[in-house]
Symmetry: C2
Subunit: 366 residues, 2 copies
Amino acid sequence: MDAVSNRAGVGQQTGPLDLTADVVALTRALVDIPSESGQEGRIADAVEAALRPLPHLTVERTGNSVLARTDLGRPQRALLAGHLDTVPAAGNLPSRLHDDRVHGLGACDMKGGVAVALRLAATVPAPTRDLTYVFYECEEVEGDRNGLHRIAAERPELLRADLAILMEPSDAGVEAGCQGVLTADIVVRGARAHTARSWMGVNAAHLAAPVLQRLHDHTPERVVIDGLEYREGLSAVAVRAGVAGNVVPDECVITVNSRFAPSRSPQEAEEYVRGLFPEYEVRVTEVVPGALPGLDRLAGLVSALDASPRPKLGWTDVARFAALGTPALNYGPGDPTLAHTAGEYVPVEHLRTCEERLRKWLLQAL
Amino acid sequence: MDAVSNRAGVGQQTGPLDLTADVVALTRALVDIPSESGQEGRIADAVEAALRPLPHLTVERTGNSVLARTDLGRPQRALLAGHLDTVPAAGNLPSRLHDDRVHGLGACDMKGGVAVALRLAATVPAPTRDLTYVFYECEEVEGDRNGLHRIAAERPELLRADLAILMEPSDAGVEAGCQGVLTADIVVRGARAHTARSWMGVNAAHLAAPVLQRLHDHTPERVVIDGLEYREGLSAVAVRAGVAGNVVPDECVITVNSRFAPSRSPQEAEEYVRGLFPEYEVRVTEVVPGALPGLDRLAGLVSALDASPRPKLGWTDVARFAALGTPALNYGPGDPTLAHTAGEYVPVEHLRTCEERLRKWLLQAL
């Protein structure tokens, strides 16, 4: 952080958010309100305060999530959602505008997308579809803290819609559906012994070699759905063995993370991984389904956004909408591979493109 | 711990140690003075107080180590050493006498041996060799805290002797020399990526498979010295990989522990391990030489102890005496494989045998 960009100080944003301002200024203002997961109070206050005065919106606050909706009696309802929280700061506050990019914590993931949605909420009072905007907390942490998860569990009627747009960074293109995620521990067992008499034990770490080799040799499948290729993955994300410096370890645990195509059910995904390691204990610790792209139900939206859909490989909250029966896609400014990096930024061009195309779609005759 | 054995309470030993008492009672009294590494103050006080009044001994205290020596002008000097500390308690205090065994923390490793040495110090005022008894602290922790190490570094003249007996548990038999120890990290490198796009990275955990397989397939050597077979070992004692649950790890570190015959130098041991993994980064973190059995210089002692020497496979402080040029062996009561177990005990028969044979040797004409 250089002296010039730091002049404004971190977290000095005290004035209200100006939703009529340019989307770039609004993105910077949002970045400058620190909102690490669990500490979204200030940003939720600011968002709520900016939306409450707007006569065309009904605003509701739940926890540190804010919902705003039009009730124009339109035949369809669309939902736009974005999370307010960020991962922890990494020396990347306050915001900085450089080379036509807004730099700073959360600029990409996903305050740029939130700024676009807030701009639309404020400046499109008479959309052709009714709209529900959801600005939610705790997306970057455990799923049971996720604001969208909580609202879906406690008050699912608030999320009812004919389609949903999750404004996660997707390079201002459409990323359809998302893959599922399975995490499992593969447990290799041995028997302890003092290393001075290692032959009296069975070294579980040595016995883990075939598990790791099988992961190395495994070729994940590529599954095509609606013309989109979902490329799966199966990775060891952790290996843990070790009792003490002079002890042959009696256990080695390999944690694997599987990304599976949305056409597979969680049960199929589990059977697939177990089938690869039939002779080992496999403990599945988490499995969440993906979301089918559902492009047949989203064709009009995709066409209006003027984008060729790509498959979303990472898991996102679109899967929560899929679980509610609502077709959803990812569409937002920013390169998703920059998410969670200290150098994250969002291109000004993405912000303007997303705002413009969504505005056009919101005003398009049904 | 049952109610009966607990009646005396833990650490209630307040009276002075009675060195004229039976070796079994003395072992129990020593067990009942808690002396986890770093907390040897009370037991060192008790040992010092018991030895100071003896007119044939010169007693010196350094830290929580106590040395006592005769100065009878004998042509040879022997050294008997035992450590006062124990590993942390595991519900195994106070001492308990059952089935002709003394049970309790440190009974085997090595308060039984300390009791034998204290009995000899008190009751053999005119040995045929001059004697140095060393009761030292911090054997169960990092080498640079070890009392014997500290004395050897600061005042090596205190340890000068023609031969040394380390009273580590050896089943009341002679365990000669000791193997060396090398610890090294084998580092396998890859490249991070999000697991949703795992093919963009290189999974270091997967690449660790050949290292673990090679350890599994490796056949350690057996080296015969002075008729004793030193069986070597090479074990992974820890495997560590893992950045986060959704990240392909870029590093996997396998910590290996090598036990090498005392005929190999530390440098040879290092070259041996490096030679097994030529294509990997190998970081040697610790290497300590073993001790040759030196039976030619210890033949009289071995004969007096009426024992067939066995090779010592674990590393012990005999290596410190070897480094000082002093031939040394392990001889003490207790089964070494019970050391550091919650159920450790020392057989009464071992205590009596060790005391009797050493007493005979101390009084034997040169």
